[in-house]
Symmetry: D5
Subunit: 92 residues, 10 copies
């Protein structure tokens, strides 16, 4: 089951640089694990923004919530979720 | 070069049923040609809406404009475009 | 898997009264079948509006799309969907 | 009398971790008491967000205000309220 | 139990003048009955707009829905509802 | 001359508790003086929010500005003003 | 007492040309009478739009409502009203 | 003096095809005259939309209003105007 | 050339009182100089808000930018600008 | 390939003055390098705002993302991007 998820990062201006780096490093690991396990099937940078869009393949809303809320940067994210269905014109 | 495009269909209430069917049939052909040629690399229905999101792979903004404005249903679409870039955490 | 769905009816002003009545009658049957089958587990009128909110229990986004797009009044509905997950404080 | 209430948590970034934990623990107790007394008849996590939707069953607007404003996390909540009425198509 | 209700009239441009007059006359009767019965405890024109705000005193959301949806002009109204509670500083 | 005014309180999260209490106490006095003098003819809590709506009866915009800007909590308020006129259907 | 009023004209696309001209001519007379009587103390075109902003000098909200709702083009106007007060820095 | 102007075309669905073509042809002539005279110093299609952005070089707001309101398609345009000034970092 | 400008003051909550007073005093001088020189031809308080609207008479966008960006309170202002043109119905 | 980009600066109120000056100086250098290399083909101040609009000429979305995210003031910018295409009426 696919969901399109946009994550926009909203770091507070006074976030210590060391914490910022740690969060980015942990987010990288977390994101790559999710890609390797097949939970995230595609991820792209939103051009010109500190934001991304990702396609999640999950079995349920609960799994999607777990995947997003476990992100190390979750407390600093604005999240928009679009549930997707099969399109009758898709050739896949 | 990738673009995420959301198309929301906004048919007028008094669109003749025959025209509606013709538009849907032509849109289907047009969408499938774009998928076969690799211009559209993914297309999904937005759950619960008469709308879809598609990933376009094009060489330029001009090619993207051509692809969208040639759609048979273009006069009835609201379109939102998000330019995408490579994400540093992507494993692809 | 639960989804909260708000349906707002937007009939065109010149919809013939007979069609209006037919749509409302068919919507009633359709809604009650969905309640009897357990797809809709609760439905309420939004006070003061020609709108409702319903809780859908479905197995997938595809089933949710089918349930909503089959509604007789679908062409006249504005739809807002909120995917729901289990709440850690829920006692159920 | 039913009300649909969405609560979105908006903690300041510099909220001390100990206060955060205390608030979550007190909120849990408060929420469960409201469920046990029948004031809250259903509560769900909004998937992917630090937010929830709940159905309140109360005798009056005053009781609803009391229920919401007594929440330990009330100073940090954005609240949206939708009054609900019986739906003529409901089979309950 | 008090509710603040804003009604904005949105007549279609081609509404026949005779129907317009009939609606306004029936609305006047309906509004005055609601005032005489105590359901509407105050009603004012929104300055410069074809709109009004009214204070409804009702026993329940269901009664409020009945009061609003029975208005002859209901199909042409945009409605915004604000549930009100006692204010601790009120001297009444 | 009547104005409907919505006041939404937006205290900064780090407002000292003593200042908060002082502001609420002074606001209470100020609000009650305005009610006793007839400047505020009704005031209600917006259910579920740290906000209120009030009906002001004043002789001019200048008097309304004075009444609002003198509120002790004015620096922390978001204010929305709706000028009201006599409604032709009012029986008062 | 001053009010800043923005009027945006929203003619339906199928308004007959003769009616359009008649409305514009009557609006011109009405606007100039209001300027001559001192009710409108300034009126300007919003650059690039079929819209204007005007400063009204009136004795009450009721007079303002009368002035606006009597405009021949009132059924086709979107209206935004900003009540104004004396500014302490004004040298007039 | 430069202004950035976005024009979005909003043709009614039932605009006759012959009128549509005539408007587009006249718009083309009008736009090219404005480019040749130097009033429009750049014009681009908004990718994927029936809209454009143009840079106008004019002597006054009045000249800008004349330029925009004379466009043959003006009755069908939504217009957004951004006044521009010299940028201190510009090397031109 | 006229521009309607709305300035909304957004002081941070922890602005020192002495700085606040200094800014208000300098703003007063600056505003009155602009009025005496004819750059600002009218200024009013927005009733009930810490905001004003002013009419600027300037020779160019560059002069308008200079006038606004020189205001002592500029770093704390939200600014909305409406370019104005002569209105054909104006009797001035 | 052209993109219209609006950058709005949103400095935190407590940004040290020395850092502010350093950021502005580095932004100036960065902006002028981008103009000299032809990546930015035009840049203007948005009149009355701490914001600018620029036209970027780049080979891809990735290059645009690099150009924007390398700006020294990027962490303090709100960015809006409009992809542009050739306009059929352009005489260039």
């Amino acid at each position: 089951m696919l969901f399109l998820v946009k994550h926009t990062v909203d770091f507070p201006h006074d976030l210590p640089e060391s914490l910022r780096r740690e969060l980015l490093a942990r987010e990288r690991e977390s994101s790559q694990r999710a890609q390797q396990s097949g939970r995230i099937v595609g991820i792209w940078r939103v051009t010109g923004h500190f934001a991304n869009v990702a396609l999640y393949e999950v079995a349920s809303n609960d799994e999607l919530h777990e995947a997003i809320s476990e992100l190390p940067m979750f407390p600093y994210l604005r999240v928009e979720i679009t549930p997707l269905s099969a399109h009758p014109n898709s050739i896949k």
